[in-house]
Symmetry: D2
Subunit: 220 residues, 4 copies
């Protein structure tokens, strides 16, 4: 049904294709116990379901020396970092079990196999760019294309896509590698993202593109 | 139908009420010819339909000495400012008729009656905060609450609400004073905003709150 | 000698007094082993010398329920976070002993007695605002005045003062509570700061102001 | 005398060489009537003196299809945009003759010969990055190196160099193409910049590097 939004927006000059650029990076958003463990308030079976597509993207990136970044969300146990409107709107941000820095819940899923030179960004808002050095990590590596994977489509994925578009990056969402605890929110937000911020692309095309980068990446 | 998203997100600790703070400002987003004039690619009858509720909000703000801000979007006629991914995704950003700084199309609707001391922000992305001094204008006035009106719900309204939430502000959307060219995108995005970023509140409650600020605002 | 810069700039409309606002916060910049321990490449006797004035500021802030923030700098041991121009310009940013997150060197001086609800910000650039949520922590607490202490005057203190001024805050530097490993750089940069970004004020005036806030702070 | 600061900082791991990157852009900061016309409160003979070196940098950039950006500062005539601490610290920001958007004073010096596709950025703070889309203009063009020219060394030049360094760019200051109304502030701040943020390089080396970019720039 939300496809009617796509039609309307396409007719008004939205939804052009940005395409892949020349020097990509991959980001894996919030694939940590807080979102994957169903005992967590934030947990969702849907998030757990995208581990496999993400692993294929990671294999392609690592095989082509494309930089990989991970995010998680962390707040202090005392609740000072979520004081005010943020903690009021999002009770899990001050809920010790869900995002407490010391609880183990924000730890990345071990299947991702993060390497020592793959940066883990601890963020406190939806976008990986907000309140973090992430944008500068990309510029220091001459990245022009950001491949986005992880969860949740209606929150951190969309917000990161918006920030990447704002920053002037070729913004690409690997379709089968992003998820939302609501399938409906997932579908609707993918269309909004595709119309406004980044290309929503089949994961197999992303993987093929990443392998094509082998031996072409400029040396810093 | 999208109400099921609200139910699911409420059950997971999203969607708390931030409430009104003590020192509000009002922003009117993109109520300019580019969005109101149906001959513009961006134009929409829905946007034109929220002029009346916005005028009631403005009357209340002005009557209580609450600061008012306006936005529009402008790009250079040569297309340099929309070069790269932004112009590829959003063709109207490099479309001279729609957002050309010198075309008259980005001019505010005269019914808004902008006063000399009400700041007009020229932005180039969805959020009023992105690439502009807007956040500092608010801090310099000790604002803790941002009332959001204008268009479009799925674009500039949502992005501005996200930025305001990120900034630590009490974020309030005046429900009948925001619009989208797609009624469906409007409804779905209002729920996402309400769950994640700001309270979606009946305009009459916003107006009542603004009048309550009369004689209470701290002097800078 | 650098006083001639003050005279020239005053004559051209710089160097006005912003004064104290109504709702202050205190920040203590980089008072950690990396800067205080003379065995560290960054270490300086001058930095160690401002612990005492900082403690008087902290006592006044805590006595008046004024929020206190601390910063330190941390990078990953593998050097990925300082890759590119940053690590080339500042070799200590990729020097494991000086700023390695896991080395203990970035730990705050224990005499500061940081409390559980006083936020510690880990930054990677000179300004406490850059790449961190610090600005939002202030807005969420309705802060309009930032009192700056710590080191170094020509680096992190000046950069944080510039950011605070940019953000629209009343920016105050407690004169005897900031230091630089070079006394000359200290003197020259204090004048630049005073002319452009924030008022350089005797620490005793800052302490008096902070005590005056007792029982006046608005409840969030 | 300030050379002793360089020696001390070099001995502590500051002041490394970042060198030129692969894809440069040039920025010309605030070479407008407000700073060049001695009848303006901000005006300085020293600023006027760097027009010639800037023109040689511009010729090299234009000859090699290297993007060129300009800045100026503008505020609204009513003073709303400089309300609060900014206007208190910098009286010229609310002084209609100096930076009033409609006064003609912020107009670029015509000798710069700005072309239609060279972007003019209107900023309200020292850094060209603050409150503007400048960072995204660079990313959209895959820029990794920013060449800085213009005025003033202790203000907008230093602040822009700091921002460029923060952003992960190779930051280069063309030594003879920057100026300050105080020669002393000029010399001292060049050393701070060279130690902390960007390489201060003879203008002739910058010009040679820019010509070397001919036929090497990647097509977007």
């Amino acid at each position: 049904m939300y496809e009617e939004v796509r039609e309307l927006y396409l007719s008004r000059g939205f939804g052009g294709r940005v395409g892949f650029g020349m020097n990509p990076a991959v980001i894996v958003i919030d694939m940590a116990r807080s979102w994957l463990d169903e005992s967590s308030p934030l947990g969702s079976r849907n998030a757990a379901g995208v581990i496999e597509p993400i692993l294929t993207v990671l294999a392609a990136a690592r095989g082509s020396a494309v930089p990989v970044f991970f995010t998680t969300m962390t707040f202090d146990p005392a609740g000072a970092e979520a004081a005010g409107p943020v903690g009021r709107k999002l009770r899990h941000s001050s809920d010790q079990r869900a995002l407490d820095r010391n609880s183990g819940m924000p730890d990345l899923d071990p299947r991702l196999g993060r390497r020592a030179d793959e940066i883990l960004i601890e963020k406190q808002r939806a976008s990986a760019f907000w309140g973090t050095p992430f944008g500068a990590y990309l510029t220091a590596r001459r990245i022009d294309t950001l491949i986005i994977t992880g969860c949740s489509t209606s929150g951190c994925v969309r917000a990161t896509a918006e920030s990447a578009h704002n920053a002037g990056l070729h913004t690409i969402i690997a379709k089968e590698a992003v998820a939302d605890r609501s399938s409906l929110a997932h579908e609707c937000n993918l269309i909004d993202i595709d119309m406004r911020y980044g290309d929503v692309v089949p994961t197999k095309d992303v993987v093929e593109y990443l392998y094509s980068r082998m031996n072409t990446r400029s040396v810093a």
